[in-house]
C-alpha cells in the first residue's frame, strides 16, 4: 500500500510526461483516462450540439429522455449498439469493415501528444505537431475506404469530395502551423521546436499568446487555421462530403448501427483534436489568462478558483431548472434526477476547491475551456451558414487561404529575422 | 382581329364568345398557319396551355384547345379545333418551347399525337401503360392491370 502511495507521489512530483519518463504504467493510465474523457466529451458534445442548435433555431431539442434530454446521448448510444449492422451485398467486405476503425484510430491516436498541461500528456514528442497533422490526415484514408467499399454512387462522390477537400486545406493549414512554429524560435538560442509542450512553453517564455504575436500576423495565421480546420473536419459550412441535400449522407450513407457510431465518434474527436492544435499553437494551450502580468499569489488563487466556480455554476443551473420543472407527479423522477445531477456537479465543484486538486486540475481546466469555446463555434457555424459549393470551396482553399498563408509565412519569417538581428546587436 | 382572320382565311374560322371570353374554332387544315401567324404577327408570345376535350359521340371526337396570351396586348385568346380519333396535329414546340410538356400530356391523356415533337412519349403515366385515361370511354376505376401486375408485382392497384 505504501509502495503504491510512493509510486503515485513520485508521479505527482514528476516534471515530465509519463511517456517521456518512460513510465509505462502511467502511460497506460493516461491512455485510458484520455480515451474515457474523450468518449464523455463526445457524448456531451452530442447533447450540447443538439441543445444549442435547437435553441438557436427556436425549438427545444431533446426533452423526453431524462430531464432536459440529458439521457438522450445514452439512449442514442444504446440504440446504435442494438441496431442491425447492415452491409450492402455488393460492398467490399474487408475494407467496409476496416474503414470506420481506421478513422477512429486516426482520430484517437492524435491525442497521444495533446498537452493538457505541462505534465498532463501521454507523451511529448520531438515532432509533436507534425505527428498530429500526419496522423489526423490518415483519417482521409478511412473515409476514402468507406466511400469506395460501399460500392454506391453517393458515398463514392462524398469520399472523393472529402479527400480532395482535406488534401487541399491541409496545405493552407500546414502553412499557418509553420508560421506559428517559426515564432517559437524567437529565443536566445534561436532554435524553435515542434513539440506541443515546447510550443506552449515558448508562449509562456515570450509572455504572449501567438495569436497576438506580431499583430496582426499571428491573428491572420490563426484565422487561416480556424477556417482550414473546419474544412478538415467536414463541418458546416464545408460539410460537402456529407451534404444531406446533395449526397444524402456522403461517405457513411451505407453504414448503420455500431459502425456508423464509430464515424460519429471519429468526427467529434477529430473536431476536438484540431481545436486542441489551434489552442496549443495560438491560444496558449493550458496557460491561464495573463500568466505573466497577473502573476502574484493573489491572482494565482483567484484563477485557481475558476474550475470549482464553473462547476458550481453548472450545479446552480441544474437546481434552478429543477425548480422550474412542472410540479406534477409524472415529473417527480425527472426533477429529482436533475437535482441529483446538480448535486453531483456541485460536489465535483467543491472537490475542485481543495488546493492540492485545484493546482493540478487547473491546466486541464483551461485547456478544456478553450477547446470548448471552439466546439461552440462549430455549432454556431452550423446554425448560421449555408453550404459552400464544391468549386467555391476549392477556390477558397487554393486562391484565398493558400496565398494568404504563404504571405503570412514570409512576413512572419522576415519580422522574426529582423527581431533576431536586433537581438544580437 | 378575328374579323381580319376571317377575311384572310374565309369560313375556316368561327369566332365564338362565352361568358365574355373570346375564342375561335379553327378548321384542322388551318391550324399550323394560324398558330404561326398568332405567334409572329399578332404577338401571342406566351403559350399558356394546350389541352383537349373528348366527345365520343361526335364524328370528330376531339377538341384540341390552345390557350394563348400576348404580353404586348395583355390579351388572351383560345384556339380550338376538332379532329377525329387517330389524327395527328403539327407540334407547336418550334413556335413555343413551352408546348413541349403540354403536348406530351395531351398525348398521354388522350392519345393525340403531335408531328414534329422532339420527344413524344408519356409524361405522367409510366411508359408502356395501355390506354389514355382522360378519354370518356376510360372508366374512372379502370387501370392497366397487366402493367401493374408486371411492374409492381401486386394483383391490383386498388
Amino acid at each position: 500500500m505504501g509502495q503504491i502511495l510512493d509510486y503515485i507521489k513520485s508521479y505527482l512530483s514528476s516534471s515530465q510526461t509519463p511517456g517521456a519518463a518512460g513510465n509505462m504504467f502511467w502511460v497506460l493510465v493516461y491512455i485510458l483516462l484520455v480515451f474515457a474523457g474523450l468518449s464523455v466529451a463526445v457524448i456531451a458534445m452530442n447533447w450540447l450540439e443538439r441543445k444549442i442548435l435547437a435553441h438557436m433555431q427556436v425549438r427545444l431539442g431533446p426533452m423526453r429522455v431524462g430531464p432536459h434530454g440529458l439521457m438522450q446521448p445514452i439512449a442514442d448510444a444504446i440504440k446504435l449498439l442494438l441496431k442491425e449492422d447492415i452491409m450492402p451485398a455488393e460492398a467490399d467486405g474487408l475494407i467496409f469493415w476496416v474503414a470506420p476503425f481506421v478513422v477512429v484510430l486516426a482520430a484517437f491516436t492524435t491525442f497521444v501528444v495533446v498537452p493538457f498541461g505541462p505534465t498532463h500528456a501521454i507523451t511529448d514528442m520531438n515532432i509533436g505537431i507534425l505527428f498530429m497533422l500526419g496522423v489526423s490526415s490518415l483519417s482521409v484514408l478511412g473515409i476514402v475506404m468507406a466511400g469506395w467499399a460501399s460500392n454506391s454512387h453517393y458515398p463514392l462522390i462524398g469520399a472523393l469530395r472529402s479527400s480532395a477537400q482535406m488534401v487541399s486545406y491541409e496545405v493552407a493549414m500546414g502553412l499557418a502551423v509553420v508560421s506559428a512554429i517559426l515564432m517559437t524560435s524567437l529565443n536566445a538560442e534561436g532554435t524553435g521546436t515542434l513539440s506541443m509542450i515546447g510550443i506552449v512553453q515558448a508562449q509562456l517564455a515570450q509572455g504572449e499568446w501567438f495569436i497576438f504575436k506580431f499583430f496582426p500576423l499571428g491573428l491572420i495565421a490563426f484565422f487561416i487555421f480556424a477556417v482550414a480546420m473546419v474544412a478538415e473536419t467536414n463541418r458546416a459550412p464545408f460539410d460537402l462530403a456529407e451534404a444531406e441535400s446533395e449526397l444524402t449522407a456522403g461517405f457513411h450513407t451505407e453504414y448503420s448501427g455500431f459502425r456508423w457510431s464509430l464515424f460519429f465518434l471519429a468526427e467529434y474527436s477529430a473536431m476536438i483534436a484540431v481545436s486542441s492544435i489551434a489552442v496549443t499553437l495560438w491560444l496558449g494551450g493550458w496557460l491561464r489568462p495573463f500568466p505573466n502580468f497577473l502573476n502574484n499569489s493573489t491572482w494565482d488563487l483567484v484563477f485557481s478558483l475558476f474550475p470549482g466556480v464553473t462547476f458550481l455554476l453548472f450545479a446552480a443551473m441544474c437546481f434552478y431548472n429543477a425548480l422550474r420543472m412542472p410540479k406534477h407527479p409524472l415529473f417527480r423522477v425527472q426533477t429529482i434526477g436533475l437535482a441529483g445531477f446538480g448535486v453531483v456537479l456541485g460536489l465535483i465543484g467543491l472537490v475542485l476547491f481543495i488546493p492540492a486538486v485545484s493546482v493540478r486540475i487547473q491546466d486541464i481546466f483551461w485547456f478544456s475551456a478553450k477547446v470548448a469555446g471552439f466546439m461552440y463555434l462549430y455549432i454556431w457555424y452550423r446554425g448560421t451558414f449555408p453550404r459552400y459549393r464544391f468549386d467555391q470551396l476549392m477556390r477558397m482553399g487554393w486562391k484565398v487561404l493558400l496565398p494568404m498563408g504563404l504571405g503570412v509565412l514570409i512576413l512572419t519569417a522576415s519580422v522574426a529575422l529582423l527581431q533576431q538581428k536586433l537581438w544580437h546587436q | 382581329m378575328v374579323a381580319k382572320f376571317r377575311g384572310t382565311y374565309g369560313s375556316g374560322i368561327t369566332p365564338l364568345t362565352y361568358a365574355g371570353q373570346n375564342y375561335m374554332a379553327v378548321d384542322r387544315s388551318l391550324i399550323p398557319e394560324i398558330l404561326q401567324v398568332l405567334r409572329n404577327e399578332e404577338r401571342f408570345d406566351y403559350c399558356v396551355d394546350i389541352t383537349a376535350v373528348h366527345y365520343p359521340k361526335r364524328e370528330k371526337q376531339f377538341d384540341v384547345v390552345w390557350v394563348l396570351y400576348s404580353f404586348a396586348r395583355n390579351e388572351r385568346i383560345r384556339v380550338t379545333t376538332q379532329i377525329v380519333d387517330g389524327e395527328s396535329l403539327p407540334s407547336a414546340v418550334p413556335i413555343w418551347p413551352a408546348a413541349n410538356w403540354l403536348e406530351r400530356e395531351v398525348y398521354d391523356m388522350f392519345g393525340i399525337k403531335f408531328d414534329g415533337h422532339p420527344d413524344m412519349k408519356r409524361i405522367l403515366l409510366p411508359e408502356g401503360w395501355k390506354g389514355h385515361p382522360l378519354r370518356k370511354d376510360y372508366g374512372i376505376l379502370q387501370q392497366d392491370n397487366e402493367w401493374v401486375q408486371i411492374n409492381l408485382g401486386i394483383e391490383s392497384g386498388q
Binding site: 518512460g22 467490399d92 475494407i95 514528442m125 520531438n126 515532432i127 507534425l130 505527428f131 497533422l133 500526419g134 496522423v135 490526415s137 490518415l138 482521409v140 484514408l141 476514402v144 475506404m145 469506395w148 463514392l156 472523393l160 479527400s163 480532395a164 482535406m166 488534401v167 491541409e170 532554435t191 515542434l194 | -
Partner: protein, 169 residues
C-alpha cells in the same frame, strides 16, 4: 531511455512490410493493392521511429501515406475495377523476372557480407531530441543548393501538370 524489445519490434515491422509488399503485387483489385502499400509505408515509418528518426517518420506518414496515397487512390477509384479484375495478374515473363531477382539477391548478399567496409562501424551519434533541428541545419545549410534545385524541379513538374490538364488557361 532504454529501447523496448528492439529486435522483437524490428522483426514484427519487417514482417508486416514484407507481407504488405507481397500483397501489393498479388492482389488483383488495385484498391486492395494500394491499401496494402499504405500498410507497408506505415510500417516503414515505424521503423524510422525505432531508428530515432522521428522527423523522417512524420514526413513519411504525411507525404507518402497521407498525401500521395490519397491521390493515388483517387486515380485508382476512377479506373474501371471490373476490367482490371479480369486481366491476368502476371505476364509470364519468367526469365527476365528470375534474372532481376537473382541480380537483386546478389546485390543484397554483397551488401550484407561486405557491408562493414562500406558503411561506418557504428551509427552516427544522433540524439532523438534535436533530430529535427539537425535535419533542418543540414538541409538549409550544407545542402541548401541541392534543396533549392529539387524544389525548382518540383515547381516545373507542377506547372507541367497544370499545362497538360488545362487546355486553356
Amino acid at each position: 531511455m532504454a529501447p523496448v524489445a528492439t529486435p522483437f519490434f524490428f522483426y514484427l515491422l519487417s514482417g508486416i512490410m514484407l507481407i504488405g509488399g507481397i500483397l501489393v503485387i498479388t492482389r488483383k483489385n488495385p484498391v486492395h493493392s494500394a491499401l496494402a502499400l499504405i500498410v507497408t509505408l506505415l510500417a516503414q515509418a515505424s521503423i524510422y521511429l525505432m531508428l530515432y528518426a522521428p522527423f523522417v517518420a512524420g514526413v513519411q506518414i504525411i507525404l507518402y501515406a497521407g498525401g500521395i496515397m490519397v491521390l493515388f487512390l483517387f486515380v485508382i477509384m476512377l479506373v474501371s475495377i471490373d476490367r482490371s479484375m479480369r486481366e491476368r495478374q502476371f505476364n509470364s515473363q519468367w526469365i527476365p523476372g528470375i534474372i532481376a531477382a537473382t541480380a537483386l539477391g546478389g546485390l543484397f548478399m554483397a551488401v550484407f557480407t561486405k557491408g562493414n567496409d562500406i558503411f561506418p562501424e557504428h551509427a552516427l551519434p544522433m540524439v532523438e531530441n534535436d533530430n529535427t533541428q539537425q535535419i533542418a541545419m543540414k538541409l538549409y545549410g550544407q545542402y541548401m543548393f541541392a534543396f533549392e534545385i529539387a524544389s525548382l524541379l518540383l515547381l516545373v513538374a507542377i506547372i507541367g501538370a497544370v499545362v497538360m490538364a488545362k487546355k486553356r488557361i
